[in-house]
Symmetry: C2
Subunit: 333 residues, 2 copies
């Protein structure tokens, strides 16, 4: 560890490097050490050396199991007894369900009744109880408050939690252990948990910069960074469903602002192209949100002085039919 | 190495364990050590522990780079100067092109003029010269003889060559190093090079049995084993294009007969189901031929006393559009 923290800076922020290192120890054995893949063709095409950290091959299909396990393994005996609750129709739902099930902790996952059946089924298959709510008529905040207060369950937030953020940073630790000499690591940005954890993990590796990649159509974090304060955008329309977030996290944003180099924007077309390239050239299934960082690197959005780039492919939970439709619709050229 | 070879047996066969070990040293640095993936869901579904050796993530998209590199790195200086030739429209073509290009050896790849454009382009992109022939009017044997005799090029056969067979066996060596306690290793069978190499590699690991998996619609090897001699079948109709072989190899068959436990049959429907499961559950793209061994294990074709099974996913070279069509046609239930 070669980083000397800026004096006074760490006390303001939700996590520091030690938290990520502690999370690594805490989640050991519960998550896969995912492989790092390379592609000569993509290196030639970009003129960089790209190293793809395959969190799409992670348990429950995304990096989210890291944060969920970090949080659940930190519960006190009393909290474990009461169980946990999470609000998600995406990768966080499956991650919390799996992490809780393995820890012997009861889990309730609250998702909209119109969430894809496959996601409900997958979440239930990990042993969680799925509670539906109607997006039009039900008050999600009210449901949350009732479950947390009446049942005494611990909320596992998708990103705005120090234990969750620290857990997400462990992917970058593994990547840098496997590929020591990187100039940059690029990760997708939704609520900012992965970027906050990654940028914090990189404090342990001098000279390695953290970049986020966000859909241009859902650029709440990029715009917030430009303005220096958290802004809220209209509900965004992007194929990257995991990045349809309207404002950066309360806890994640200060960490990102302090420690990340920049957040770059990715077009919808380049995102679909990246998904197709990862499939046809690298033989892996990456969901659109999971391909944000790859798209940024492939489109030359990362500054040219970053010759060796680590890319976190953050998830692979997209069903083959959706994938086929996406690629069929890809604009050519 | 705990195996005591049957007395006198090795001298009759094209390769022995030492050849595979030598091939491993020879190809070091030119091939990826591919990851081994697992899936809790697929383990639960089969009641076994399955370990997937991902040669679909190998360079040039399949295990074929192992055999091609083993052969090309064994050439004498004079042979290197003359160059190589291969006949293939499939994974062997790309593998020979890449291996030759990296060794600075000139390569000619002969493929039918009606081969998919993507395969011609990929092969040419690795620096090989692609020569087309008309399946209806040209005599492939004549083309081969002319190129080998007139140009003095060395033929790199797809399977019937000791150096190629030995190279293919190196995937099993890596798998057993990563997962020592296996009961069986299952691999796809076309001409038998991968199975011959694998069964030979397993001589070094006592009690680990080698199985082949073949399309039921192209069961030339299974039938030949049952009859005790090589038979030739009619041109088979199977989605597993890499297994459309009409007779087992002259050199591979005796090795398979002596050292493999059995070759099991896989239906077309189960093959497509396996491709879909590998995509939706494990987030990887595997071509139909590459999924033969997985389909055999998922359908319970491997004897029940094999609790821990290594499965070689042999290749991933299928374009997304074809994949989408395949999965769309999958018979349900």
């Amino acid at each position: 560890v070669s980083h000397a923290p800026t004096e006074g800076a760490t006390s303001r922020l939700a996590i520091d490097l030690d938290d990520v290192l502690a999370a690594r120890d805490r989640i050991a054995g519960a998550v896969h050490r995912t492989p790092v893949l390379t592609s000569r063709l993509l290196d030639e095409r970009t003129g960089r050396e790209l190293f793809f950290k395959c969190e799409n091959l992670q348990r429950a299909g995304s990096f989210k199991i890291r944060g969920a396990t970090s949080k659940i393994r930190s519960l006190s005996p009393v909290e474990r007894e009461r169980g946990v609750v999470a609000f998600s129709s995406g990768n966080h739902a499956q991650a919390v369900a799996l992490a809780a099930g393995e820890a012997g902790v009861d889990a309730v996952i609250v998702m909209p009744v119109d969430a894809p059946r496959a996601k409900r089924t997958a979440t239930a298959a990990y042993g969680a109880r799925v509670v539906g709510y109607d997006r039009m008529t039900d008050d999600r905040e009210e449901i949350a408050r009732r479950i947390v207060e009446e049942e005494g369950r611990v909320l596992v937030p998708p990103y705005d939690d120090p234990l969750v953020m620290a857990g997400q940073g462990t992917a970058a630790l593994e990547l840098l252990e496997d590929v020591p000499e990187l100039d940059a690591v690029v990760v997708p940005v939704g609520g900012g948990g992965l970027l906050a954890g990654t940028a914090t993990a990189l404090l342990g590796f001098e000279g390695v910069r953290a970049y986020g990649a966000e859909p241009a159509a859902a650029d709440d974090t990029a715009r917030s960074l430009e303005l220096g304060r958290r802004i809220t955008i209209d509900p965004p329309d992007t194929v990257a469903d995991g990045a349809r977030v309207q404002t950066p996290g309360f806890l994640t944003f200060p960490v990102v602002r302090e420690r990340a180099e920049a957040v770059v924007r990715v077009s919808e077309a380049s995102l679909v192209r990246a998904v197709e390239l990862l499939m046809s050239r690298m033989k892996i299934v990456v969901e659109p949100t999971g391909a944000l960082a790859a798209a940024a690197a492939l489109e030359g959005e990362i500054p040219a002085d970053a010759g060796r780039i680590g890319i976190v492919l953050s998830g692979g939970n997209v069903d083959p039919a959706t994938l086929a439709r996406l690629i069929g619709e890809e604009p050519r050229g």
